[in-house]
């Protein structure tokens, strides 16, 4: 895929400079062109190109320009460029080439290229050095206990973070480039011997078939490669934490690290992973199991509470205990809207408040919660615009929905679908929707692995890390159908 077929290097330095200038825009001020010559031998002319802001200026000054200017050169004229490469330039990573494509790519990825008079080749010197964010804890995935580092936007730093956790030569990195215009560097990571080769092959195949302009985040890839693109459920995982990636790799999963984003994708992704948190494994397993059961319950509650409340209150009043229906009855006195409308309006209000709060600077956030809780909640009840139980129902549904931020898209959409169904048919409609949801969950796959696989297994070892988190000494096997080497090496004293 040579884009610069019509160009080629010439022996004249000036024409080479003109060519590079032409390839970039003539007015591109970020491209720095610096010509210089050796102080002992004026005929030794050189020129370097690099892009301002993407290079480490110190390296260029100290290790490229200074040695070339100062070197006392013997009069070897024929392969001067080789002499520079081996004896003058101080760099741990450099390469000689005559391919224009390589040269251009090197410049735009932050390297410096060096042309010399009378040479048909040029040198690429690694001078990458741009400003990047420090390694800090990801805001959306905070933990109380456990490692606090998170990925950054720089792929090499990210890979180093993974490598630091998995110091084995079995950890393989396979690089590729994605995005026809962004040329984003991507890396597939897996542990050889654990990762399922079929899944690996499938991932390669799907990545190769991608054709997209730009890749700015892994979600671009996710939507292009995932198995059920129309499903609200995600079939690829994403995280900003190296410890999670290391754990997933150890389970035989495969990670895709992308340059320019701190989010790393993992495949295959099963339903239960929504409810697994890295903290589960760092805390006592009783506590972790309670947390996990609560999260699963929270998800079901979040999608069901408004629908079930509506069904009971509007269709099946006989199912509500008598004292409860009396208080609901009393609370609804003077409320002008039907229960279904009340619920839908208040649920939408909740989503608006949540959406408004997400991108709001934190100092306004407080005002928002006051507006949300006091003005909209209590005043609406006092003014008899909505009944008090509805506020509780919507609040509960919203809070349980926020327990797992990752599954938010599902809980928000399902909540409204179920509410709509039960406003038509009561509990029957709710059960109808729930069955459809289950059928969907059981029908989708992630890279060939059934989405619900380990939740429905009959083997105890498969279930050990699902609704409860078993102690580490009990988790002897890896989750099946992912890894080809099932045996975990956790041979404790309780073996």
């Amino acid at each position: 895929m040579s884009k610069f077929k019509e160009y080629s290097l010439s022996k004249s330095l000036d024409s080479n400079i003109e060519m590079i200038k032409k390839i970039f825009n003539n007015n591109d001020d970020t491209l720095i062109i610096r010509s210089f010559q050796n102080q002992h031998n004026n005929s030794l002319k050189c020129c370097i190109f690099f892009i301002e802001g993407m290079v480490n200026n110190e390296i260029i000054n100290e290790n490229i320009i200074l040695p070339i200017v100062e070197t006392s050169i013997p009069s070897i004229k024929s392969n001067f460029i080789e002499y520079l490469q081996y004896q003058v330039i101080v760099s741990n990573n450099l390469q000689k080439t005559d391919s224009i494509d390589q040269l251009i790519e090197a410049v735009i990825s932050g390297n410096t290229i060096l042309f010399a008079e009378n040479s048909l080749e040029a040198i690429i010197i690694d001078t990458k050095g741009w400003q990047s964010r420090a390694i800090e804890e990801p805001i959306v995935e905070r933990v109380l206990r456990g490692p606090r580092e998170g990925f950054t936007e720089c792929i090499m730093v990210n890979l180093a973070l993974i490598r630091r956790k998995l110091r084995t030569s079995d950890l393989k990195f396979e690089f590729t480039t994605l995005g026809e215009r962004t040329n984003t560097k991507a890396c597939i990571c897996y542990i050889e011997g654990l990762a399922n080769e079929k899944i690996l092959k499938e991932l390669h195949k799907r990545l190769e078939s991608i054709s997209i302009d730009g890749v700015l985040d892994v979600n671009y890839i996710n939507e292009l490669v995932s198995d059920s693109p129309l499903s609200p459920f995600e079939t690829t995982g994403s995280t900003e934490r190296p410890d999670i990636i290391a754990a997933k790799l150890l389970e035989g999963r495969i990670a895709l690290v992308l340059d320019g984003t701190p989010v790393v994708m993992t495949v295959p992704y099963l339903f239960i992973e929504y409810f697994q948190s890295n903290e589960d494994y760092y805390l006592n397993y009783y506590f972790a199991s309670i947390g996990r059961v609560l999260r699963i319950f929270g998800f079901i509650a979040s999608i069901s509470i408004p629908a079930v409340y509506l069904s009971l209150v509007a269709f099946h009043q006989e199912m509500i205990p008598t004292p409860l229906i009396m208080s609901i009855y009393a609370a609804r006195q003077g409320v002008p809207f039907p229960t279904a409308i009340e619920l839908i309006v208040l649920l939408i209000t909740f989503e608006i408040l949540r959406e408004a709060g997400t991108r709001m600077p934190s100092y306004i956030g407080q005002a928002l919660s006051i507006v949300g809780a006091l003005v909209l909640g209590s005043s609406a009840v006092e003014a008899r615009l909505v009944s008090a139980p509805i506020v509780i129902v919507v609040g509960l549904s919203g809070i349980t929905g926020l327990m797992i931020p990752k599954i938010k898209s599902v809980s928000v959409t399902m909540r409204f679908i179920f509410l709509f169904l039960s406003s038509l048919l009561g509990l029957y409609g709710y059960i109808f929707g729930m069955s459809a949801l289950l059928i969907h969950l059981f029908s989708i796959r992630s890279f060939g692995v059934p989405y619900m696989s380990n939740l429905t297994s009959l083997h105890l070892q498969e279930l050990k890390d699902t609704t409860i988190r078993s102690p580490w000494w009990y988790m002897k096997d890896r989750p099946g159908s992912l890894s080809k080497n099932l045996r975990r090496t956790s041979r404790g004293q309780r073996q």
């Binding site: 009855y329 038509l424 029957y428």
Partner: protein, 385 residues
């Protein structure tokens, strides 16, 4: 998606709307929640007169007390009377939360079938409703007396029946049990009754013993005290007291025993063409109260008390059975039913003549009382000079 799938989908969706039975979107405040109903019969035009107690929410604030209202109407049948109530209430009556049906004596005497039919056939009333028979002139007046625990009289009657566990003086019969007894062979149903008493000078409803049925018609009443012995035979005792009087000794006194547990077995005996029924009760009690310094706690006293209590229980059970045999001619204990279950061969022979066998049936009662404790005292309180 192919065409047949879409067609199937449309058929399923439309049929869900068409085949949904009779439930519907109905806001709570559009319903009038019925808590109970009293059914009377007008002697003059032979119409049913219904008084439904409806939970009143007009005056209620959130967290406040709930009041009740009464809606009265009449009709040729029960459902007719119920539908006529819409004329008054402007809301459809909602029966799923009803707990109490009260029948007047003459409704019960004429036959309880129309009431049972409505409860069993209509989708809203539950089979766990309690039916009472009023011992007052009308059933409706029970719904308008002073209430103690809640403003809603019907719920109060329901609570009274629930609390009966430690009283054991009325039978707890729900509709489905009544219907089972009614349709089964060799057993006659009973119902609890209600009457009006004075509490601090105000009239209020209280439990009033048992209404005995023969087939579906009222045959008579058992008193509260006699009901206890009926419950002993029916093995439905969950608590309550046994009051043992000693009138013969030099100092007449009375000892109260509290029942903790009771198990009754009914054993039919058939030999030489002679049918008899053995009733064996085994009761765990504790001494709950005594008005004497006599020691009933030591071994000797306990044996004496036990003998007295057993005799007392046997005598009373026999008396109540005799009353049912002679006065009501109604097998409310289910002896025939027990024979049918334990000796089906025998029932085939005698089942047809059960009506004539029952009044002559020979009964042996064998009570077995175990005194388990004496409360917090180990010796009776001594009275010194």
């Amino acid at each position: 998606m192919n065409k047949s799938f879409i067609l199937l989908f449309v058929i399923i969706i439309t049929s869900t709307f068409l085949l949904t039975g009779c439930w519907n979107y109905n806001e709570v405040e559009k319903l009038a929640i019925v808590s109970g109903v009293a059914i009377d019969k007008n002697e003059k035009d032979n119409k049913f007169e219904l008084t439904a107690e409806v939970i009143d929410l007009k005056s209620t604030q959130v967290g406040g007390r709930f009041n009740s209202q009464r809606i009265q109407s009449d009709g040729d049948t029960i459902l007719d009377a119920i539908r006529n109530m819409i004329k008054i209430s402007a809301k459809k009556l909602y029966w799923s939360h009803a707990t109490t049906f009260i029948l007047s004596e003459n409704v019960a005497k004429e036959g309880i079938l129309p009431v049972l039919d409505f409860i069993a056939r209509d989708k809203e009333p539950r089979l766990s409703i309690n039916i009472f028979v009023s011992k007052e002139k009308t059933a409706a007046e029970l719904l308008s007396q002073q209430s103690i625990s809640t403003e809603i009289r019907s719920f109060e009657m329901d609570y009274m029946l629930l609390a009966n566990d430690s009283l054991s003086k009325v039978p707890e019969v729900q509709v489905y049990e009544f219907m089972n007894d009614l349709s089964n062979q060799g057993i006659s149903p009973v119902l609890p009754t209600l009457e009006i008493t004075l509490n601090e000078g105000k009239r209020t409803a209280e439990l009033g013993g048992t209404a005995v049925f023969k087939k579906d018609k009222l045959a008579g009443f058992l008193t509260l005290e006699d009901t206890k012995f009926l419950l002993f035979v029916k093995d439905k005792i969950k608590g309550g007291l046994l009051i043992v009087n000693d009138k013969e000794g030099e100092s007449p006194h009375v000892v109260t025993l509290e029942i903790f547990k009771n198990k009754t077995k009914i054993i039919p005996n058939y030999s030489n063409g002679q049918l008899s029924i053995d009733i064996r009760t085994r009761t765990d009690v504790s001494i709950a109260e005594e008005d004497t310094t006599k020691n009933y706690i030591d071994e000797k006293g306990r044996a004496e008390l036990r003998k007295k209590a057993e005799k007392y229980l046997e005598r009373n059970i026999e008396r109540v059975i005799k009353q049912a045999q002679q006065e009501f001619d109604s097998d409310i204990f289910g002896f025939g039913n027990t024979i049918m279950r334990k000796r089906p061969d025998l029932w085939k022979e005698i089942g047809k003549q059960w009506g004539s066998i029952f009044p002559e049936l020979k009964i042996n009662v064998d009570a077995d009382i175990h005194i388990k404790s004496s409360g917090h005292i180990l010796k009776p309180i001594q009275v010194g000079d």
